[in-house]
Amino acid sequence: MGIFSSLLSGSGAWNPLVWLLAFVVAVIIVYLIWSRGEKSYKKGTEQTTPFISGNKEPSKDAVHVRGGNLYWGYTEALKGYYERIVPLHSGDMNDYVLWYLGTTALILVIVVVLS
Protein backbone atom coordinates (compact mmCIF):
# COMPACT_ATOMS: atom_id res chain seq x y z
CA MET A 1 0.00 0.00 0.00
CA GLY A 2 1.58 3.24 -1.11
CA ILE A 3 0.29 6.70 -1.82
CA PHE A 4 0.71 6.13 -5.58
CA SER A 5 -0.88 2.64 -5.59
CA SER A 6 -3.76 1.74 -7.87
CA LEU A 7 -7.24 1.19 -6.52
CA LEU A 8 -8.22 -2.43 -7.18
CA SER A 9 -11.75 -3.76 -7.60
CA GLY A 10 -10.99 -7.43 -8.14
CA SER A 11 -11.65 -7.14 -11.86
CA GLY A 12 -10.00 -3.81 -12.68
CA ALA A 13 -7.64 -1.11 -11.49
CA TRP A 14 -7.83 2.67 -11.27
CA ASN A 15 -4.88 4.99 -10.84
CA PRO A 16 -5.73 8.71 -11.07
CA LEU A 17 -2.06 9.67 -11.33
CA VAL A 18 -1.72 7.69 -14.57
CA TRP A 19 -4.93 9.34 -15.77
CA LEU A 20 -3.54 12.78 -14.86
CA LEU A 21 -0.32 12.00 -16.71
CA ALA A 22 -2.31 10.99 -19.81
CA PHE A 23 -4.38 14.17 -19.44
CA VAL A 24 -1.26 16.35 -19.30
CA VAL A 25 0.16 14.61 -22.40
CA ALA A 26 -3.16 15.18 -24.22
CA VAL A 27 -3.12 18.87 -23.24
CA ILE A 28 0.44 19.24 -24.54
CA ILE A 29 -0.52 17.62 -27.87
CA VAL A 30 -3.56 19.89 -28.16
CA TYR A 31 -1.38 22.91 -27.39
CA LEU A 32 1.14 21.89 -30.06
CA ILE A 33 -1.60 21.52 -32.68
CA TRP A 34 -3.17 24.83 -31.63
CA SER A 35 0.16 26.67 -31.76
CA ARG A 36 0.59 25.62 -35.41
CA GLY A 37 -2.77 27.18 -36.33
CA GLU A 38 -3.68 30.38 -38.22
CA LYS A 39 -1.69 33.27 -36.75
CA SER A 40 -3.40 36.14 -38.54
CA TYR A 41 -6.43 35.93 -36.23
CA LYS A 42 -7.12 39.33 -34.67
CA LYS A 43 -9.15 39.63 -31.50
CA GLY A 44 -11.71 42.43 -31.36
CA THR A 45 -12.14 42.74 -35.15
CA GLU A 46 -15.01 41.47 -37.30
CA GLN A 47 -13.15 38.15 -37.48
CA THR A 48 -14.52 37.37 -34.03
CA THR A 49 -18.19 38.26 -34.76
CA PRO A 50 -20.54 35.43 -35.74
CA PHE A 51 -22.02 35.35 -39.26
CA ILE A 52 -25.83 35.35 -38.96
CA SER A 53 -26.83 35.47 -42.65
CA GLY A 54 -25.75 39.09 -42.84
CA ASN A 55 -27.96 40.20 -39.91
CA LYS A 56 -26.55 42.36 -37.14
CA GLU A 57 -25.40 40.46 -34.05
CA PRO A 58 -27.85 41.02 -31.13
CA SER A 59 -26.48 42.17 -27.77
CA LYS A 60 -24.97 39.42 -25.61
CA ASP A 61 -27.54 39.60 -22.79
CA ALA A 62 -30.38 39.30 -25.33
CA VAL A 63 -29.14 35.93 -26.57
CA HIS A 64 -28.33 34.33 -23.20
CA VAL A 65 -30.17 30.99 -22.93
CA ARG A 66 -31.82 30.81 -19.50
CA GLY A 67 -31.87 27.63 -17.41
CA GLY A 68 -35.56 26.90 -18.00
CA ASN A 69 -34.98 26.63 -21.75
CA LEU A 70 -32.39 23.89 -21.48
CA TYR A 71 -33.26 20.22 -22.06
CA TRP A 72 -36.68 21.04 -23.47
CA GLY A 73 -36.27 18.13 -25.92
CA TYR A 74 -35.42 15.70 -23.13
CA THR A 75 -38.43 16.54 -20.98
CA GLU A 76 -40.70 16.65 -24.06
CA ALA A 77 -39.51 13.17 -25.11
CA LEU A 78 -40.21 11.84 -21.61
CA LYS A 79 -43.48 13.71 -21.25
CA GLY A 80 -45.42 10.53 -20.41
CA TYR A 81 -43.02 9.73 -17.58
CA TYR A 82 -43.02 13.24 -16.15
CA GLU A 83 -46.81 13.56 -16.37
CA ARG A 84 -47.04 10.64 -13.96
CA ILE A 85 -44.06 11.25 -11.69
CA VAL A 86 -44.32 15.02 -11.08
CA PRO A 87 -47.90 14.98 -9.66
CA LEU A 88 -46.77 12.44 -7.07
CA HIS A 89 -44.68 15.24 -5.57
CA SER A 90 -47.84 17.02 -4.50
CA GLY A 91 -46.42 18.95 -1.54
CA ASP A 92 -49.30 17.57 0.56
CA MET A 93 -48.08 16.17 3.87
CA ASN A 94 -50.90 13.61 3.97
CA ASP A 95 -49.49 12.09 0.77
CA TYR A 96 -45.99 12.03 2.24
CA VAL A 97 -47.22 10.14 5.31
CA LEU A 98 -49.23 7.71 3.18
CA TRP A 99 -46.22 6.92 0.99
CA TYR A 100 -44.13 6.26 4.09
CA LEU A 101 -46.75 4.03 5.74
CA GLY A 102 -47.49 2.22 2.45
CA THR A 103 -43.83 1.49 1.82
CA THR A 104 -43.40 0.27 5.39
CA ALA A 105 -46.38 -2.06 4.95
CA LEU A 106 -45.07 -3.39 1.64
CA ILE A 107 -41.59 -4.09 3.05
CA LEU A 108 -43.18 -5.73 6.08
CA VAL A 109 -45.19 -8.11 3.89
CA ILE A 110 -42.12 -8.99 1.78
CA VAL A 111 -39.84 -9.57 4.77
CA VAL A 112 -42.31 -11.57 6.87
CA VAL A 113 -43.66 -13.66 3.97
CA LEU A 114 -40.29 -14.45 2.40
CA SER A 115 -38.60 -15.13 5.73
Binding site: M1, L7, D61, Y71, W99, V111, S115
Partner: protein
Protein backbone atom coordinates in the same frame (compact mmCIF):
# COMPACT_ATOMS: atom_id res chain seq x y z
CA UNK B 1 -0.64 13.04 30.52
CA UNK B 2 -3.24 15.54 29.26
CA UNK B 3 -3.14 13.82 25.88
CA UNK B 4 -3.88 10.46 27.53
CA UNK B 5 -6.84 11.95 29.40
CA UNK B 6 -8.21 13.52 26.22
CA UNK B 7 -7.88 10.25 24.31
CA UNK B 8 -9.40 8.25 27.17
CA UNK B 9 -12.35 10.63 27.60
CA UNK B 10 -12.80 11.48 23.91
CA UNK B 11 -16.14 9.62 23.46
CA UNK B 12 -17.67 11.66 26.29
CA UNK B 13 -16.01 14.90 25.18
CA UNK B 14 -17.40 14.35 21.70
CA UNK B 15 -20.88 15.01 23.10
CA UNK B 16 -20.01 17.21 26.07
CA UNK B 17 -18.12 19.91 24.14
CA UNK B 18 -20.79 20.82 21.56
CA UNK B 19 -23.49 20.56 24.27
CA UNK B 20 -21.56 22.91 26.54
CA UNK B 21 -20.91 25.42 23.76
CA UNK B 22 -24.55 25.19 22.65
CA UNK B 23 -25.81 25.83 26.19
CA UNK B 24 -23.69 28.94 26.70
CA UNK B 25 -24.14 30.31 23.17
CA UNK B 26 -27.23 32.47 23.95
CA UNK B 27 -25.45 33.99 26.96
CA UNK B 28 -22.25 34.68 25.01
CA UNK B 29 -24.41 36.21 22.26
CA UNK B 30 -25.47 38.92 24.73
CA UNK B 31 -21.86 40.18 24.85
CA UNK B 32 -21.36 40.77 21.13
CA UNK B 33 -21.84 39.05 17.79
CA UNK B 34 -18.11 38.78 17.23
CA UNK B 35 -17.47 37.08 20.57
CA UNK B 36 -20.33 34.68 19.87
CA UNK B 37 -18.94 33.87 16.41
CA UNK B 38 -15.53 33.13 17.95
CA UNK B 39 -17.25 31.03 20.64
CA UNK B 40 -19.08 28.79 18.16
CA UNK B 41 -16.05 28.51 15.86
CA UNK B 42 -13.88 27.44 18.80
CA UNK B 43 -16.57 25.03 20.00
CA UNK B 44 -16.84 23.41 16.58
CA UNK B 45 -13.05 23.32 16.15
CA UNK B 46 -12.65 21.57 19.53
CA UNK B 47 -15.44 19.12 18.67
CA UNK B 48 -13.81 18.35 15.33
CA UNK B 49 -10.41 17.92 16.99
CA UNK B 50 -11.83 15.46 19.54
CA UNK B 51 -13.68 13.56 16.79
CA UNK B 52 -10.49 13.26 14.75
CA UNK B 53 -8.47 12.19 17.80
CA UNK B 54 -11.03 9.51 18.65
CA UNK B 55 -11.15 8.37 15.03
CA UNK B 56 -7.36 8.15 14.92
CA UNK B 57 -7.36 6.12 18.15
CA UNK B 58 -10.00 3.72 16.80
CA UNK B 59 -8.24 3.22 13.46
CA UNK B 60 -4.89 2.72 15.19
CA UNK B 61 -5.90 0.54 18.17
CA UNK B 62 -9.32 -0.92 17.38
CA UNK B 63 -12.88 -0.51 18.62
CA UNK B 64 -13.34 1.72 21.68
CA UNK B 65 -16.09 1.28 24.21
CA UNK B 66 -16.96 3.95 26.73
CA UNK B 67 -19.34 3.13 29.59
CA UNK B 68 -20.93 6.24 31.06
CA UNK B 69 -20.95 6.29 34.86
CA UNK B 70 -18.86 3.14 35.30
CA UNK B 71 -15.76 2.73 37.49
CA UNK B 72 -13.71 2.22 34.34
CA UNK B 73 -14.52 3.28 30.78
CA UNK B 74 -14.58 -0.33 29.54
CA UNK B 75 -16.49 -1.78 32.50
CA UNK B 76 -19.48 -2.85 30.42
CA UNK B 77 -20.84 -5.69 32.55
CA UNK B 78 -20.93 -4.92 36.27
CA UNK B 79 -20.98 -8.08 38.43
CA UNK B 80 -24.43 -7.31 39.84
CA UNK B 81 -26.02 -6.54 36.46
CA UNK B 82 -27.02 -10.10 35.65
CA UNK B 83 -24.74 -10.18 32.62
CA UNK B 84 -26.56 -7.30 30.92
CA UNK B 85 -24.84 -4.01 30.02
CA UNK B 86 -27.17 -1.73 31.93
CA UNK B 87 -25.37 1.57 31.42
CA UNK B 88 -25.22 3.76 28.33
CA UNK B 89 -22.30 2.55 26.26
CA UNK B 90 -20.64 4.25 23.31
CA UNK B 91 -19.16 1.70 20.93
CA UNK B 92 -16.90 3.36 18.40
CA UNK B 93 -15.62 1.03 15.70
CA UNK B 94 -14.03 2.17 12.38
CA UNK B 95 -17.47 2.60 10.77
CA UNK B 96 -18.52 4.96 13.56
CA UNK B 97 -15.14 6.70 13.39
CA UNK B 98 -15.57 7.27 9.65
CA UNK B 99 -18.94 8.93 10.25
CA UNK B 100 -17.37 11.07 12.98
CA UNK B 101 -14.68 12.21 10.53
CA UNK B 102 -17.39 13.22 8.04
CA UNK B 103 -19.32 15.19 10.66
CA UNK B 104 -16.12 16.81 12.02
CA UNK B 105 -14.79 18.04 8.67
CA UNK B 106 -18.14 19.12 7.25
CA UNK B 107 -19.23 20.73 10.51
CA UNK B 108 -16.07 22.83 10.73
CA UNK B 109 -16.19 23.93 7.08
CA UNK B 110 -19.85 24.90 7.47
CA UNK B 111 -19.39 26.92 10.67
CA UNK B 112 -16.65 28.99 8.99
CA UNK B 113 -18.96 29.52 6.04
CA UNK B 114 -21.95 30.39 8.24
CA UNK B 115 -20.13 33.20 10.04
CA UNK B 116 -20.32 35.17 6.78
CA UNK B 117 -23.39 33.71 5.13
CA UNK B 118 -25.68 34.34 8.11
CA UNK B 119 -24.22 37.68 9.26
CA UNK B 120 -27.13 39.70 7.84
CA UNK B 121 -29.75 37.78 9.82
CA UNK B 122 -31.04 38.16 13.36
CA UNK B 123 -31.49 35.43 15.98
CA UNK B 124 -28.07 33.99 15.32
CA UNK B 125 -27.50 32.88 18.92
CA UNK B 126 -30.45 30.49 18.56
CA UNK B 127 -29.22 29.49 15.10
CA UNK B 128 -25.79 28.46 16.37
CA UNK B 129 -27.24 26.81 19.48
CA UNK B 130 -29.42 24.62 17.27
CA UNK B 131 -26.49 24.00 14.93
CA UNK B 132 -24.30 22.72 17.78
CA UNK B 133 -27.19 20.59 19.05
CA UNK B 134 -27.52 19.13 15.57
CA UNK B 135 -23.80 18.27 15.58
CA UNK B 136 -24.22 16.71 19.04
CA UNK B 137 -27.09 14.57 17.80
CA UNK B 138 -25.26 13.40 14.68
CA UNK B 139 -22.10 12.49 16.62
CA UNK B 140 -24.21 10.71 19.23
CA UNK B 141 -26.13 8.72 16.63
CA UNK B 142 -22.96 7.38 15.04
CA UNK B 143 -21.17 6.70 18.33
CA UNK B 144 -23.72 5.09 20.59
CA UNK B 145 -23.93 1.36 21.16
CA UNK B 146 -27.35 1.63 22.78
CA UNK B 147 -30.58 1.60 20.78
CA UNK B 148 -32.61 3.85 23.07
CA UNK B 149 -29.71 6.28 23.17
CA UNK B 150 -29.71 6.20 19.35
CA UNK B 151 -33.39 7.17 19.41
CA UNK B 152 -32.66 10.08 21.77
CA UNK B 153 -29.87 11.44 19.57
CA UNK B 154 -32.06 10.96 16.47
CA UNK B 155 -34.70 13.12 18.13
CA UNK B 156 -32.12 15.77 19.02
CA UNK B 157 -31.10 15.90 15.35
CA UNK B 158 -34.74 16.07 14.18
CA UNK B 159 -35.74 18.86 16.58
CA UNK B 160 -32.61 20.93 15.90
CA UNK B 161 -32.91 20.38 12.13
CA UNK B 162 -36.58 21.37 12.06
CA UNK B 163 -35.74 24.61 13.90
CA UNK B 164 -32.94 25.36 11.47
CA UNK B 165 -35.00 24.55 8.35
CA UNK B 166 -37.62 27.06 9.54
CA UNK B 167 -34.97 29.62 10.49
CA UNK B 168 -35.52 32.02 7.57
CA UNK B 169 -39.35 31.76 7.71
CA UNK B 170 -39.56 33.02 4.08
CA UNK B 171 -43.26 33.96 4.09
CA UNK B 172 -44.10 30.73 5.86
CA UNK B 173 -42.62 28.44 3.18
CA UNK B 174 -39.63 27.46 5.31
CA UNK B 175 -41.90 26.87 8.30
CA UNK B 176 -44.11 24.62 6.18
CA UNK B 177 -41.07 22.65 4.99
CA UNK B 178 -39.89 22.29 8.59
CA UNK B 179 -43.35 21.15 9.68
CA UNK B 180 -43.41 18.43 6.99
CA UNK B 181 -39.94 17.29 8.01
CA UNK B 182 -40.85 17.31 11.68
CA UNK B 183 -44.15 15.43 11.34
CA UNK B 184 -42.56 12.70 9.21
CA UNK B 185 -39.53 12.52 11.52
CA UNK B 186 -41.77 12.17 14.54
CA UNK B 187 -43.83 9.38 12.97
CA UNK B 188 -40.59 7.64 11.96
CA UNK B 189 -39.14 8.10 15.44
CA UNK B 190 -42.28 6.59 16.99
CA UNK B 191 -41.86 3.55 14.74
CA UNK B 192 -38.25 3.24 15.87
CA UNK B 193 -39.26 3.59 19.52
CA UNK B 194 -41.88 0.85 19.01
CA UNK B 195 -39.21 -1.41 17.50
CA UNK B 196 -36.88 -0.73 20.43
CA UNK B 197 -39.74 -1.68 22.74
CA UNK B 198 -40.05 -5.00 20.90
CA UNK B 199 -36.35 -5.72 21.41
CA UNK B 200 -36.55 -4.77 25.07
CA UNK B 201 -39.57 -7.01 25.60
CA UNK B 202 -37.90 -9.91 23.84
CA UNK B 203 -34.30 -9.67 24.98
CA UNK B 204 -34.46 -7.54 28.14
CA UNK B 205 -31.73 -5.32 26.76
CA UNK B 206 -31.21 -2.09 24.84
CA UNK B 207 -27.54 -2.55 24.06
CA UNK B 208 -26.89 -3.32 20.38
CA UNK B 209 -24.17 -5.90 21.10
CA UNK B 210 -26.34 -7.62 23.71
CA UNK B 211 -29.39 -7.83 21.44
CA UNK B 212 -27.20 -8.96 18.54
CA UNK B 213 -25.77 -11.78 20.64
CA UNK B 214 -29.31 -13.00 21.44
CA UNK B 215 -30.96 -12.30 18.07
CA UNK B 216 -33.43 -15.04 17.05
CA UNK B 217 -35.00 -13.32 14.01
CA UNK B 218 -38.51 -14.15 15.18
CA UNK B 219 -41.57 -12.58 13.54
CA UNK B 220 -41.35 -9.80 16.14
CA UNK B 221 -37.72 -9.20 15.17
CA UNK B 222 -38.78 -9.04 11.53
CA UNK B 223 -41.44 -6.43 12.36
CA UNK B 224 -38.90 -4.43 14.39
CA UNK B 225 -36.39 -4.62 11.54
CA UNK B 226 -38.90 -3.26 9.00
CA UNK B 227 -40.04 -0.47 11.34
CA UNK B 228 -36.47 0.72 11.89
CA UNK B 229 -35.33 0.21 8.31
CA UNK B 230 -38.29 2.05 6.75
CA UNK B 231 -38.09 4.93 9.24
CA UNK B 232 -34.38 5.47 8.69
CA UNK B 233 -34.72 5.03 4.91
CA UNK B 234 -37.32 7.81 5.02
CA UNK B 235 -34.96 9.93 7.14
CA UNK B 236 -32.13 9.50 4.63
CA UNK B 237 -34.41 10.48 1.74
CA UNK B 238 -34.82 7.15 0.00
CA UNK B 239 -37.47 6.92 -2.73
CA UNK B 240 -40.49 6.51 -2.37
CA UNK B 241 -40.25 8.18 1.06
CA UNK B 242 -38.18 11.11 -0.15
CA UNK B 243 -40.86 13.74 -0.60
CA UNK B 244 -39.85 15.84 2.41
CA UNK B 245 -36.24 16.13 1.15
CA UNK B 246 -36.60 18.69 -1.69
CA UNK B 247 -38.93 20.81 0.46
CA UNK B 248 -36.63 20.87 3.49
CA UNK B 249 -33.31 21.05 1.62
CA UNK B 250 -34.46 23.91 -0.58
CA UNK B 251 -35.95 26.04 2.20
CA UNK B 252 -33.17 25.66 4.79
CA UNK B 253 -30.21 28.08 4.74
CA UNK B 254 -27.52 26.57 2.47
CA UNK B 255 -25.11 25.95 5.33
CA UNK B 256 -27.82 23.95 7.09
CA UNK B 257 -28.70 22.07 3.91
CA UNK B 258 -25.08 20.92 3.71
CA UNK B 259 -25.36 19.69 7.31
CA UNK B 260 -28.73 18.04 6.60
CA UNK B 261 -26.84 15.88 4.09
CA UNK B 262 -24.63 14.67 6.94
CA UNK B 263 -27.68 14.15 9.17
CA UNK B 264 -29.27 12.03 6.44
CA UNK B 265 -26.10 10.01 6.23
CA UNK B 266 -26.22 9.41 9.97
CA UNK B 267 -29.64 7.81 9.36
CA UNK B 268 -28.10 5.76 6.56
CA UNK B 269 -25.44 4.67 9.05
CA UNK B 270 -28.29 3.63 11.36
CA UNK B 271 -29.75 1.35 8.67
CA UNK B 272 -26.37 -0.25 8.03
CA UNK B 273 -25.68 -0.67 11.76
CA UNK B 274 -29.02 -2.39 12.31
CA UNK B 275 -28.75 -4.64 9.26
CA UNK B 276 -25.15 -5.73 9.73
CA UNK B 277 -24.45 -5.45 13.45
CA UNK B 278 -27.84 -6.18 14.98
CA UNK B 279 -29.07 -8.86 12.54
CA UNK B 280 -26.21 -9.86 10.23
CA UNK B 281 -26.68 -13.39 8.84
CA UNK B 282 -29.64 -14.17 11.08
CA UNK B 283 -31.85 -12.32 8.60
CA UNK B 284 -32.74 -13.42 5.09
CA UNK B 285 -29.86 -11.49 3.55
CA UNK B 286 -30.90 -12.03 -0.08
CA UNK B 287 -34.44 -10.71 0.49
CA UNK B 288 -33.47 -7.74 2.66
CA UNK B 289 -30.42 -7.07 0.46
CA UNK B 290 -32.66 -6.83 -2.60
CA UNK B 291 -35.08 -4.53 -0.75
CA UNK B 292 -32.14 -2.20 -0.06
CA UNK B 293 -31.00 -2.50 -3.68
CA UNK B 294 -34.50 -1.67 -5.03
CA UNK B 295 -34.72 1.36 -2.72
CA UNK B 296 -31.29 2.38 -4.02
CA UNK B 297 -32.18 2.01 -7.71
CA UNK B 298 -35.48 3.87 -7.26
CA UNK B 299 -33.63 6.66 -5.45
CA UNK B 300 -30.97 6.90 -8.16
CA UNK B 301 -33.40 6.98 -11.10
CA UNK B 302 -36.26 9.05 -9.69
CA UNK B 303 -33.85 11.42 -7.93
CA UNK B 304 -31.90 12.29 -11.06
CA UNK B 305 -34.88 12.42 -13.43
CA UNK B 306 -36.73 14.73 -11.06
CA UNK B 307 -33.61 16.92 -10.76
CA UNK B 308 -33.25 17.68 -14.46
CA UNK B 309 -36.41 19.80 -14.99
CA UNK B 310 -36.02 21.76 -11.71
CA UNK B 311 -35.63 25.53 -11.92
CA UNK B 312 -34.68 26.14 -8.28
CA UNK B 313 -31.00 25.30 -7.91
CA UNK B 314 -31.31 24.01 -4.34
CA UNK B 315 -34.34 21.89 -5.16
CA UNK B 316 -32.37 20.47 -8.07
CA UNK B 317 -29.42 19.69 -5.80
CA UNK B 318 -31.80 18.13 -3.24
CA UNK B 319 -33.04 15.66 -5.85
CA UNK B 320 -29.42 14.87 -6.67
CA UNK B 321 -28.78 14.19 -2.98
CA UNK B 322 -31.59 11.60 -3.15
CA UNK B 323 -30.04 10.14 -6.29
CA UNK B 324 -26.59 9.87 -4.70
CA UNK B 325 -28.03 8.18 -1.61
CA UNK B 326 -29.21 5.53 -4.06
CA UNK B 327 -25.61 4.69 -4.95
CA UNK B 328 -24.79 4.09 -1.28
CA UNK B 329 -27.85 1.89 -0.81
CA UNK B 330 -27.01 -0.01 -4.00
CA UNK B 331 -23.39 -0.70 -3.02
CA UNK B 332 -24.11 -1.74 0.55
CA UNK B 333 -27.29 -3.58 -0.52
CA UNK B 334 -25.27 -5.79 -2.86
CA UNK B 335 -22.87 -6.52 0.00
CA UNK B 336 -25.83 -7.45 2.21
CA UNK B 337 -27.40 -9.65 -0.47
CA UNK B 338 -24.32 -11.89 -0.55
CA UNK B 339 -23.44 -11.62 3.15
CA UNK B 340 -22.72 -15.06 4.53
CA UNK B 341 -21.43 -16.34 1.20
CA UNK B 342 -17.70 -15.86 1.72
CA UNK B 343 -16.56 -16.55 -1.88
CA UNK B 344 -19.04 -13.98 -3.24
CA UNK B 345 -18.13 -11.50 -0.51
CA UNK B 346 -14.45 -11.86 -1.43
CA UNK B 347 -15.22 -11.70 -5.14
CA UNK B 348 -17.31 -8.50 -5.16
CA UNK B 349 -19.33 -8.12 -1.94
CA UNK B 350 -16.67 -6.28 0.03
CA UNK B 351 -15.79 -4.06 -2.94
CA UNK B 352 -19.47 -3.13 -3.37
CA UNK B 353 -19.75 -2.28 0.32
CA UNK B 354 -16.49 -0.34 0.26
CA UNK B 355 -17.72 1.57 -2.80
CA UNK B 356 -21.00 2.38 -1.03
CA UNK B 357 -19.25 3.46 2.17
CA UNK B 358 -16.61 5.45 0.27
CA UNK B 359 -19.46 7.20 -1.52
CA UNK B 360 -20.87 8.33 1.85
CA UNK B 361 -17.79 10.40 2.71
CA UNK B 362 -17.34 11.56 -0.89
CA UNK B 363 -20.95 12.63 -1.12
CA UNK B 364 -20.77 14.56 2.15
CA UNK B 365 -17.81 16.51 0.77
CA UNK B 366 -18.95 17.32 -2.77
CA UNK B 367 -22.63 17.72 -2.02
CA UNK B 368 -21.78 19.91 0.97
CA UNK B 369 -19.55 21.93 -1.36
CA UNK B 370 -22.29 22.27 -4.00
CA UNK B 371 -24.87 23.46 -1.47
CA UNK B 372 -22.35 26.00 -0.16
CA UNK B 373 -21.70 27.33 -3.68
CA UNK B 374 -25.47 27.66 -4.19
CA UNK B 375 -25.59 29.56 -0.89
CA UNK B 376 -22.74 31.84 -2.01
CA UNK B 377 -24.62 32.69 -5.21
CA UNK B 378 -27.81 33.36 -3.20
CA UNK B 379 -25.79 35.51 -0.78
CA UNK B 380 -24.81 37.80 -3.67
CA UNK B 381 -27.87 37.84 -5.94
CA UNK B 382 -30.72 36.83 -3.58
CA UNK B 383 -32.36 34.15 -5.72
CA UNK B 384 -32.17 30.41 -6.29
CA UNK B 385 -34.12 30.65 -9.55
CA UNK B 386 -31.98 29.37 -12.43
CA UNK B 387 -34.08 31.34 -14.92
CA UNK B 388 -33.00 34.58 -13.29
CA UNK B 389 -29.29 33.76 -13.19
CA UNK B 390 -26.47 34.06 -15.69
CA UNK B 391 -22.99 35.38 -16.30
CA UNK B 392 -21.85 35.13 -12.69
CA UNK B 393 -18.61 33.44 -13.76
CA UNK B 394 -17.31 36.91 -14.59
CA UNK B 395 -17.61 38.15 -11.01
CA UNK B 396 -17.59 35.01 -8.81
CA UNK B 397 -14.60 33.16 -10.21
CA UNK B 398 -13.64 31.22 -7.07
CA UNK B 399 -17.22 30.18 -6.42
CA UNK B 400 -17.37 28.99 -10.04
CA UNK B 401 -14.17 26.97 -9.64
CA UNK B 402 -15.53 25.33 -6.46
CA UNK B 403 -18.81 24.61 -8.22
CA UNK B 404 -16.99 22.97 -11.15
CA UNK B 405 -15.03 20.76 -8.73
CA UNK B 406 -18.21 19.71 -6.92
CA UNK B 407 -20.17 19.21 -10.16
CA UNK B 408 -17.49 17.06 -11.79
CA UNK B 409 -17.17 15.01 -8.60
CA UNK B 410 -20.91 14.31 -8.30
CA UNK B 411 -21.08 13.42 -11.99
CA UNK B 412 -18.33 10.85 -11.47
CA UNK B 413 -15.76 12.51 -13.73
CA UNK B 414 -12.13 11.47 -13.09
CA UNK B 415 -9.96 12.28 -11.27
CA UNK B 416 -12.38 13.59 -8.61
CA UNK B 417 -13.50 11.57 -5.61
CA UNK B 418 -16.98 10.75 -6.91
CA UNK B 419 -15.47 8.79 -9.76
CA UNK B 420 -13.41 6.53 -7.48
CA UNK B 421 -16.36 5.41 -5.35
CA UNK B 422 -18.72 5.10 -8.31
CA UNK B 423 -16.11 3.08 -10.17
CA UNK B 424 -15.91 0.63 -7.26
CA UNK B 425 -19.72 0.36 -7.26
CA UNK B 426 -19.92 -0.14 -11.07
CA UNK B 427 -17.21 -2.81 -11.13
CA UNK B 428 -18.56 -4.86 -8.23
CA UNK B 429 -22.27 -4.45 -8.94
CA UNK B 430 -21.68 -5.48 -12.57
CA UNK B 431 -20.49 -8.89 -11.37
CA UNK B 432 -23.61 -9.21 -9.17
CA UNK B 433 -26.09 -7.97 -11.79
CA UNK B 434 -24.98 -6.09 -14.94
CA UNK B 435 -28.34 -4.30 -15.37
CA UNK B 436 -27.92 -2.57 -12.00
CA UNK B 437 -24.44 -1.34 -12.99
CA UNK B 438 -25.75 -0.02 -16.32
CA UNK B 439 -28.56 1.87 -14.54
CA UNK B 440 -25.96 3.38 -12.18
CA UNK B 441 -23.84 4.55 -15.13
CA UNK B 442 -26.84 6.05 -16.97
CA UNK B 443 -27.77 7.92 -13.78
CA UNK B 444 -24.24 9.34 -13.68
CA UNK B 445 -24.59 10.59 -17.27
CA UNK B 446 -27.90 12.26 -16.40
CA UNK B 447 -26.24 13.80 -13.34
CA UNK B 448 -23.56 15.31 -15.57
CA UNK B 449 -26.23 16.62 -17.95
CA UNK B 450 -28.08 18.21 -15.06
CA UNK B 451 -25.01 19.96 -13.68
CA UNK B 452 -24.03 21.20 -17.16
CA UNK B 453 -27.42 22.94 -17.14
CA UNK B 454 -26.78 24.43 -13.69
CA UNK B 455 -23.27 25.55 -14.63
CA UNK B 456 -24.51 27.18 -17.80
CA UNK B 457 -27.46 28.83 -16.07
CA UNK B 458 -25.47 30.34 -13.20
CA UNK B 459 -22.02 31.08 -14.50
CA UNK B 460 -21.98 31.12 -18.30
CA UNK B 461 -23.11 33.81 -20.69
CA UNK B 462 -22.50 37.56 -20.70
CA UNK B 463 -22.55 39.59 -17.53
CA UNK B 464 -26.22 40.45 -16.99
CA UNK B 465 -27.09 44.12 -16.31
CA UNK B 466 -28.93 43.29 -13.05
CA UNK B 467 -25.79 41.64 -11.65
CA UNK B 468 -23.35 44.34 -12.75
CA UNK B 469 -22.16 45.13 -9.21
CA UNK B 470 -21.99 41.53 -7.92
CA UNK B 471 -18.77 40.66 -6.10
CA UNK B 472 -17.09 37.40 -5.11
CA UNK B 473 -18.32 35.66 -1.93
CA UNK B 474 -16.65 36.82 1.34
CA UNK B 475 -13.41 35.15 2.40
CA UNK B 476 -14.79 32.98 5.26
CA UNK B 477 -17.33 31.50 2.84
CA UNK B 478 -14.56 30.80 0.33
CA UNK B 479 -12.48 29.15 3.07
CA UNK B 480 -15.40 26.91 4.01
CA UNK B 481 -15.89 25.89 0.38
CA UNK B 482 -12.13 25.60 -0.14
CA UNK B 483 -11.73 23.05 2.67
CA UNK B 484 -14.30 20.76 1.09
CA UNK B 485 -12.94 21.33 -2.44
CA UNK B 486 -9.41 20.34 -1.37
CA UNK B 487 -10.73 17.13 0.19
CA UNK B 488 -12.72 16.34 -2.97
CA UNK B 489 -9.52 16.66 -5.01
CA UNK B 490 -7.24 14.79 -2.59
CA UNK B 491 -9.68 11.91 -2.12
CA UNK B 492 -9.94 11.71 -5.90
CA UNK B 493 -6.20 11.69 -6.58
CA UNK B 494 -5.26 9.30 -3.77
CA UNK B 495 -8.30 7.00 -3.55
CA UNK B 496 -6.34 3.87 -2.72
CA UNK B 497 -4.85 5.50 0.38
CA UNK B 498 -8.28 6.61 1.57
CA UNK B 499 -9.88 3.25 0.81
CA UNK B 500 -7.20 1.15 2.48
CA UNK B 501 -6.87 3.48 5.49
CA UNK B 502 -10.46 4.49 6.21
CA UNK B 503 -12.93 2.53 4.11
CA UNK B 504 -11.75 -1.10 4.26
CA UNK B 505 -11.59 -1.13 8.09
CA UNK B 506 -15.05 0.47 8.21
CA UNK B 507 -16.57 -2.11 5.83
CA UNK B 508 -14.99 -5.01 7.71
CA UNK B 509 -16.09 -3.58 11.07
CA UNK B 510 -19.64 -3.42 9.73
CA UNK B 511 -19.68 -7.03 8.55
CA UNK B 512 -17.78 -8.46 11.53
CA UNK B 513 -20.64 -8.76 14.00
CA UNK B 514 -18.64 -11.06 16.29
CA UNK B 515 -15.91 -8.48 16.84
CA UNK B 516 -18.47 -5.80 17.73
CA UNK B 517 -20.18 -8.07 20.25
CA UNK B 518 -16.85 -9.16 21.72
CA UNK B 519 -15.71 -5.56 22.12
CA UNK B 520 -18.67 -4.88 24.42
CA UNK B 521 -19.53 -8.15 26.09
CA UNK B 522 -15.92 -9.32 26.29
CA UNK B 523 -14.90 -6.23 28.27
CA UNK B 524 -15.99 -7.44 31.74
Amino acid sequence: MIWDVIVAQSPALLIAIPLLFAFFCPFIGKISNMVRNIWVAVGMALTSAVALILAWDVYAFGTRIYVFGAQAANYALPLDSGGIPVRIIFTVDPMSALMQIIAAITGLAIILYSISSEQRHSGLSSFYTLYLLMITGILGMVSTGDLFNFFVFLEIVSIASAGLIAYRVDKGLAVEAALKYFVLSTIGALAILFAIGIYYGEYNALNIAMIASRMQFTVLDQIALVLIMAALAMKCGSVPMHFWTPDAYSMAPSSITAMLVVASQASLYGIFRVLFTLYNVTLNTATVGWIVIVLGVLSMVIGVTMAIPQKNVKRLMAYHAISQTGYMLLGVGVGLAVLGNQPLMDSFGYTAMEGGIFHIINHAMYKGLLFLTAGAVFFRIGTYNLNKMGGLGHSMKWTMVFFIIGALAIAGIPPFNGFASKWMIYESVYVFNPILAIIAMVVSILTLASFVKVFHSIFMGPKLPEYEGVKEAPLPMLIGMGILAVIVILFGIFPETVVSTLIVPAAHALTNQGAYIAAVLGGV
